[in-house]
């Protein structure tokens, strides 16, 4: 998301970098670029205006730090202002002293409330809570059924009956209390903000259940209308916060800025994919970094912490550094990664990715991972430990066994070997002095964390360049032709 905005700001940065001092004309030119970028990102016009005014103030008001070029100065002002508009800091979710904590979700049709309700329930579960879902969407055919199916996947109970939404909400909260559940999430029907009757209905649901949190669920691809929706729901319901969904769409997500700008309540959660795991707290500062193309390593790590086995990960990292990395290890990691969510979504969070790499990752999907897994699973344990033994006949056996082609097997082996070499380089060359290559990278990662993902982990350039050289191999005809091969011969001379 925000690809265009970050792209523009990057270009802006380069064009201004060469100039000495920032004149008023330069500033206006830069701001015109920012304006167009924000509008293209669907930020609402009045929010854009307020934003630009604020940036102008900042740039004029602040003393230019000696170390900053004028271009960097503008970018910094835009960044700081983004952080401010997006919320300054994340809202901390606290729990009612007298449970259950009641959470009410509201929004337009199709914003993703029902899916969000289930994701939120899972999030609360991960926090060690016992959530309970109440489905009051009796309007949309089978909405409650959808909630039940999703809830069954995460092992949470659902309350609903066919009386009327207000009664269902009331009874649902009472039932949660009886069962001793400490968080109740009320899913409501989608409604238009101008639909008086339905707004009155959600108001009475709110009055009956006195929710501790009232969240507006808003679609990240929403256009200029985001402000109307947000304002109308806020006027009616006194929102505590906003949940943004579908942030994984290629949208630039300006709706986040618009809604935030109009309502003045923080964006609390963000949903970034169809999988139930693609959901997390929204971090304004990280989002601002992401907008400016700095990646978001903190979100990545937190997602990993929730889903992965840290010891296994650390162990395989150790193996990589020492060069004893096998296809078995690789597959174990592949499976760990898959638990984290969609690859494309994860890639967006990685710092230091070029646009090409992100584009490539966008298209990577479970299907492709399945193919890789099939190939590796078709190898014998010995082959997996030492791919060098794989000769022509083994190759065709593997290809047959995995339902792929010899070329695909070759490509996998070649890539794997390149990868292993890069790893060794990183462990050895890029970071010479540390034990096992771990220490410094760990420091870097920690520093990266401190700098909110702005620092790029060491050795990343090596990795990135490896990736770039890996890309052409995707082209039909396998672009390995012009590349000089050096070092360990992986591919036996005869392949076919």
């Amino acid at each position: 998301m925000f690809d265009s905005l970050s792209g523009r700001l990057e270009r802006l940065g380069t064009s201004l970098r060469s100039r000495g001092r920032l004149s008023d004309a330069d500033l206006e030119e830069a701001l015109a670029e920012v304006r167009a970028a924000l509008l293209e990102a669907d930020v609402e016009l009045s929010v854009v205006r307020a934003f630009l005014d604020a940036v102008r103030e900042r740039v004029r008001g602040e003393n230019v730090a000696q170390s900053l070029t004028p271009g960097q100065h503008v970018i910094k002002a835009v960044h700081d202002q983004l952080v401010e508009v997006l919320g300054g800091s994340a809202l901390k979710v606290t729990y009612a002293s007298k449970p259950p904590t009641v959470v009410l979700l509201a929004g337009l049709q199709g914003a993703g409330k029902t899916t969000t309700a289930a994701k939120l329930a899972q999030w609360f579960k991960q926090q060690g809570r016992q959530p309970y879902l109440v489905g009051t969407d009796l309007q949309r055919p089978a909405a409650v059924e959808q909630l039940r199916v999703l809830a069954a996947q995460i092992g949470v109970e659902v309350y609903s009956d066919t009386t009327d939404p207000v009664a269902v909400a009331r009874a649902g909260v009472a039932e949660a209390q009886r069962l001793g559940r400490d968080v109740v999430i009320i899913d409501t029907a989608g409604r238009l903000a101008i639909d008086e009757a339905l707004m009155a209905e959600v108001r009475s649901i709110s009055a009956e259940t006195s929710p501790h949190y009232t969240f507006l669920v808003i679609d990240a691809v929403t256009g200029q209308d985001a402000v109307h929706t947000a304002r109308a729901f806020h006027d009616s319901l006194e929102l505590t916060g906003i949940i943004v969904t579908k942030l994984d769409y290629d949208a630039r997500g300006g709706a986040v800025l618009s809604a935030r700008g109009v309502v003045g309540r923080p964006v609390v959660f963000a949903s970034t994919g169809e999988k139930l795991a693609d959901f997390d707290l929204f971090h304004p500062d990280r989002m601002a970094s992401r907008i400016l193309g700095m990646g978001d390593i903190m979100s990545l790590i937190e997602q990993a912490e929730r889903t992965m086995d840290p010891e296994a990960m650390a162990e395989s990292a150790q193996k990589m550094m020492s060069g004893a990395f096998t296809l078995d290890d690789f597959m174990a990691q592949l499976n760990q990664i898959r638990k984290m969510g969609s690859l494309g979504g994860l890639m967006r969070l990685m710092p230091g990715m070029t646009k090409d790499m992100r584009d490539a990752a966008k298209n990577v999907d479970d299907g492709e991972l399945n193919k890789i897994e099939a190939i590796i699973r078709s190898m014998t344990p010995r082959e997996r430990r030492d791919p060098r033994v794989i000769d022509g006949s083994r190759r065709s056996r593997i290809a047959k066994g995995s339902g792929s082609s010899v070329a695909a097997v070759n490509q996998l082996l070649k890539q794997f070997e390149m990868m292993r070499k890069t790893m060794k380089q990183m462990a050895g060359g890029a970071m010479p002095q540390l034990p096992g290559g771990m220490g410094k990278m760990a420091q870097m990662a920690a520093r990266g964390a401190a700098a909110r993902g702005q620092a790029m982990p060491a050795g990343f350039e090596a990795l990135a360049s490896g990736m770039q050289s890996a890309t052409p191999a995707k082209a039909p005809g396998g672009g390995a032709k012009g590349k000089k091969k050096k070092g360990g011969r992986v591919t036996p001379p005869k392949q076919r």
Binding site: G112, K125, A142, A193, Q224, K246, Y249, A255, D365, A445
Partner: protein, 346 residues
């Protein structure tokens, strides 16, 4: 095979970060308890409160037109002042027409001038942008079953649109078979089933996770056997930037277009609240499924849906239906004049 690198990069970063942090923070482990769900299935839909003053397109037209009035009020025939252009720009941007299309329209205004006033000039320019063919094909070649295929991202109202169209078509005396091709979203088939019950249309459905192509194939068989007039095929909502899902869609379309079926219309359903992302959605779906028309839904809200102007100008995909409410009869044929007037009102 760039996947390898991606995975590797992820592994490295994550592993190291975890190594650093695992010492500090114990992980919360919650054992998933799987209990039997209470088996209350909601099949009965609560009656929706009738809203007399449903704020549809017409009503909105009759109501305030402040910005349109502003544009009209500054009409000075002939030349265009910067101030006038600014007002026009604001109106267009606020209705989600988009930066590029807005600039292009303003450029047209500048070159053509505004002999009849700015408001009329921008109205004309917009109407010129919406001059595509909006006819809807309901018949296929001899011996084939006509299929309407519905595609779009998640949550735009595909299933509801199909339900509404099923109502219209059955009202018109045609026999309709619904193909519940959304086998991904939980309970999507149930939702369509309820529409089938309401409208008396036939429905072919399968379990969740089934191959959507096979559902559509079966629906074609059913339609052929029962001599039905039209098949309305639902598909799962999908991101427009995911190649695999778009490939799947292309495959679905091929299945639907194979004997005895013939895809005569492929509708991309678009939520009127969508902003600039709609353009890339249209691009991707056009490439993957050969979209022939757009159904613009949720136009009864405050959103203007101006992005369809950009879509029709740049990609030549016309809007054919608009959704202006939740009742079946709230799906209307698209009328450019009413739409443009609504766009310019505010």
């Amino acid at each position: 095979m760039i996947v390898l690198w991606i995975v590797l990069a992820l592994v490295v970063v994550v592993a190291l970060a975890l190594a650093v942090r695992s010492r500090r923070r114990p992980r919360v482990v919650v054992a998933p308890e799987r209990e039997a769900m209470p088996d209350v299935l909601v099949t009965q839909v609560a009656p929706r409160p009738e809203i007399d003053d449903s704020p549809g397109l017409d009503r909105r037209l009759a109501s305030s037109r402040s910005i349109f009035d502003r544009v009209r009020s500054i009409t000075s025939a002939g030349s265009l002042s910067q101030e006038q252009l600014d007002v026009v720009e604001e109106v267009l941007l606020r209705s989600d027409v988009g930066v590029a299309t807005t600039s292009a329209l303003l450029e047209e205004l500048r070159t053509n001038g505004a002999p009849e006033g700015v408001a009329q000039a921008i109205r004309t320019a917009l109407l010129n942008s919406l001059s595509g063919d909006r006819s809807v094909r309901t018949s296929a070649d001899e011996g084939r079953v006509p299929v309407w295929l519905f595609v779009g991202v998640n949550g735009v109202g595909k299933t509801t649109t199909i339900g509404k169209l099923a109502w219209h078509e059955t009202q018109a005396g045609r026999s309709v078979v619904l193909a519940a091709g959304d086998t991904f979203r939980a309970a999507a088939s149930d939702q369509l089933q309820l529409w089938a019950d309401r409208t008396g249309a036939d429905i072919v459905r399968a379990d969740e996770g089934a191959d959507p192509g096979s559902v559509i194939h079966d629906a074609l068989g059913r339609a052929r056997a029962r001599n039905a007039d039209l098949v309305l095929a639902d598909t799962a909502g999908r991101r427009a930037n995911n190649t695999n899902l778009l490939d799947e869609l292309a495959k679905i379309r091929r299945v639907a277009d194979r004997e005895p079926g013939q895809v005569v219309e492929t509708f991309m359903v678009l939520d009127a609240t969508t902003g600039q992302n709609a353009l890339s959605q249209a691009q991707e779906f056009l490439a993957a499924a050969d979209v022939t028309g757009i159904v613009l839904t949720k136009l009864d809200g405050t959103a203007r849906g101006g992005i369809v102007v950009a879509i029709e100008r740049e990609l030549g995909i016309p809007v054919k239906f608009v959704g202006v409410g939740e009742r079946a009869k709230d799906l209307l044929a698209f009328e450019p004049v009413a739409f443009v007037d609504s766009l310019l009102s505010a």
